[in-house]
């Protein structure tokens, strides 16, 4: 085997810096993040878990239409936004609420899509977060375009593009990786391999040695990490972002994690997987292991715990207060945003609806 292959193929084992018992391990290529970063990350994890819990509760109360939870994947969520700078871009999916909020987007605006009063609730330019993409893998080529535009202007922007294991099967995944490689675009493709695409387990999605092995087929370096180890993820993703920023072209990272809950609240996971498959993954919880590690290192004092709890409480309150069951909606919005200048046809249709509603009210 040549050097090219060694450069592009992922390491044999997923990178793990802190194991599930909270024990740190040395790694030949990656170093443990600083204590401050790990403590900040811990706070974000606690906040992220709370977002998942609170959103679940809001669904049960009918205040969200649907919620695809990232419970158990919070380390991926938090790491994917923590490694970015302000000028970077994040391209999330429907499952990446926690990543988006971690990046600083207003939580209510983040959940607009899932509440159902509009499609995308936040201004993508504010925190440089693209609208959450529902059609799988389609956002990945957009990420390449955004990165390429920045590069043409000489900016050192990096784009973090998220997708799931299932989405790697779509043709758009392939085209995005190839375009990024050929144009040497600074995109970090980050696959959260949570073992399921709704009901379909990874084994029916791909029989490749790993999803990170797809990189070499595009000339893109692939790497894999334990998706429940925030430290390892920060190291691997941080490294990938740095390489991309330094002109190293696109990078592919696969995180091995697990979708602890059903696909969404509307899904019934009991139909396709036994509970005892889930149990060991609860042992690998991303929060627990970091907590254990921080405790052992005596980094988890009351102040940190209080800070985490406060952040979590505040975001939960925001969600509870902001997600009214019946948000104000304006039917005129239906016609207002398709074009910079409304077409005569849409003006006519908007008037039709306005008249109809006026008649109904009268």
């Amino acid at each position: 085997m040549t050097t090219v292959e060694e450069q592009l193929l992922p390491s044999t084992e997923p990178v793990r810096l802190i194991d599930q018992d909270g024990v740190p391990h040395d790694h030949p290529s990656y170093r443990l993040p600083t204590k401050d970063v790990l403590v900040d990350g811990y706070v974000e994890l606690i906040k992220g878990r709370r977002i998942n819990d609170q959103a679940g509760a809001l669904v049960r109360q009918g205040r969200l239409a649907v919620y695809p939870s990232s419970h158990g994947q919070e380390a991926c969520q938090v790491a994917s936004s923590m490694v970015l700078r302000d000028g970077d871009w994040l391209f999330p999916t429907y499952r990446d609420t926690v990543s988006i909020v971690s990046r600083g987007v207003d939580p209510i605006e983040t959940l607009t899509l899932l509440r159902g009063d509009w499609h995308s609730g936040y201004d993508p330019y504010d925190r440089k977060v693209a609208p959450q993409s529902t059609p799988l893998a389609t956002q990945l080529t957009h990420a390449v375009g955004v990165a390429h535009a920045a590069r043409l202007r000489g900016e050192d922007t990096v784009v973090m593009a998220l997708c799931g294991d299932g989405a790697t099967s779509e043709g758009d995944f392939h085209e995005a990786l190839n375009f990024a490689a050929v144009f040497h675009a600074p995109v970090v493709f980050f696959i959260q391999n949570n073992e399921y695409a709704i009901s379909v387990p990874l084994a029916r999605q791909s029989v490749a040695p790993s999803l990170a092995h797809k990189g070499i087929g595009y000339g893109v370096p692939g790497e894999r990490a334990d998706g429940n180890d925030l430290a390892g993820l920060l190291a691997v993703l941080g490294h990938a972002v740095a390489k991309a920023r330094a002109g190293g072209g696109p990078q592919l990272v696969e995180a091995h994690t697990y979708r602890v809950q059903a696909h969404t609240n509307a899904d019934d996971a009991a139909r396709y997987r036994p509970d005892d498959e889930v149990a060991p993954w609860l042992e690998r919880d991303p929060i627990k292991r970091l907590e254990t590690y921080l405790e052992q290192e005596e980094l988890l004092d009351d102040a940190v715990r209080a800070r985490a709890e406060k952040a979590a409480r505040e975001v939960a309150e925001k969600l509870r207060d902001g997600l009214m069951p019946e948000p104000d909606v304006d039917p005129a919005d239906l016609f207002a945003h398709l074009y910079s200048e409304q077409t005569p046809q849409l003006t006519e249709q908007a008037e039709f609806l306005r008249d109809e509603l006026a008649r109904e009210e009268a």
Partner: protein, 328 residues
């Protein structure tokens, strides 16, 4: 056979089950159609009953699903595939337009493709974006496809059975919001086949032309209109391609007035076609131009706003009121 009370979802499931029982070349596949039974449970229990070779999950790639079905159909099978929601059929658009629709013609009839593409379609279920599209016009505009849309439980069963037995590819539009409505039906009763429209209600004053999810709304509107003194005919198209000009035009000629009711955006759509072709054929029987009640020309709205987009009873009755009754 006695009548049973079942939902459209159950009738579709039964149709698949019966088709798979009677013909072992029938295969059902797509995303989450195996163990889960499909996100709408249309394929519930099929893997358990027929095994993983007959009903199976694929990798998550719609173009691959349809392309693989083309190959299976070329080689002796009768594949039925599910696009999880009809907007997720768009990645397969090239396969559908360039191959599914054209294979038979390309080969002078040597390679027919007996396959069915099932599309849970249209709205009214509070789905977020991309989950409530009405894409039938794209397929109806594509020569070589057969496009059907059941509106009743009995038709769901019959039309799916007939679609699976059909020698050519059928795009099968399943109105999502009707999945759970139950009716008392005898599934063994023979219904008209593909290509035939049915008059669901007779009335002398005007004709409502509907298909799929708008048929029950049209029938309800006809009730309301009747209470207000207008008798409406309601035609359920059932089959968009081929189109049953005879039944539709006969109704319009009898009534002299018509309203087309469809959920899809109106511009350059199946409803435009209905207006155009019926006007071409029945011009001198028309007392007023044919009106359309369709979705606006906008992306399907988010859940909290969808009620404004859906053709409702009032909007239909208003359109009927608008048919220049004074002038006639």
């Amino acid at each position: 056979m006695t009548h049973v009370k079942i939902s459209m979802a159950q009738a579709l499931n039964q149709a698949l089950r019966d088709a798979m029982k009677s013909d072992e070349t029938v295969l059902m596949f797509g995303e989450d159609v195996g163990a889960l039974g499909g996100v709408f449970r249309i394929t519930d229990g099929l893997t358990a009953e027929f095994g993983e070779d007959r009903c199976f999950d694929t990798p998550l790639a719609e173009s691959g699903i349809v392309g693989m079905a083309v190959g299976l159909a070329m080689n002796g099978m009768r594949p039925v595939v599910e696009m999880q929601f009809d907007a997720f059929g768009y990645p397969a658009f090239e396969q559908i337009v360039s191959h599914v629709a054209k294979m038979r013609n390309r080969t002078r009839g040597r390679v027919g493709l007996p396959m069915v593409i099932r599309m849970p379609y249209a709205g009214g279920i509070g789905g977020v974006e991309h989950h409530c599209d009405s894409s039938e016009s794209y397929y109806a505009h594509t020569p070589g496809l057969t496009v059907v849309a059941p509106a009743t439980v009995a038709d769901a069963y019959t039309l799916l059975r007939k679609a699976i037995e059909f020698p050519d590819p059928v795009v099968f539009m399943e109105p999502k919001k009707l999945y759970w409505a139950k009716e008392e039906v005898d599934l063994t009763e023979d219904q008209p086949g593909i290509g035939t429209a049915v008059v669901r209600r007779e009335g002398a004053d005007a004709t409502l032309i509907a298909y799929g999810p708008t048929v029950p709304v049209a029938l309800e509107a006809a009730e309301v209109a009747a209470a207000e003194g207008r008798q409406l005919t309601v035609v359920d198209l059932r089959s968009i391609v081929p189109f049953d000009d005879e039944t539709v035009c006969a109704a319009v000629r009898r009534t002299g007035r018509a309203v087309v009711v469809a959920e899809a955006s109106g511009f350059a759509s199946v409803s435009s076609e209905i207006v155009a072709r019926v006007t071409e054929r029945c011009f001198h029987s028309l007392a007023a131009p044919i009106r359309r009640v369709t979705g606006f020309d906008i992306p399907y709205p988010p859940p909290k706003l969808e009620k404004y987009q859906l053709p409702g009873v009032d909007r239909i009755v208003d359109a009927v009121d608008d048919l220049q009754w004074e002038d006639s």
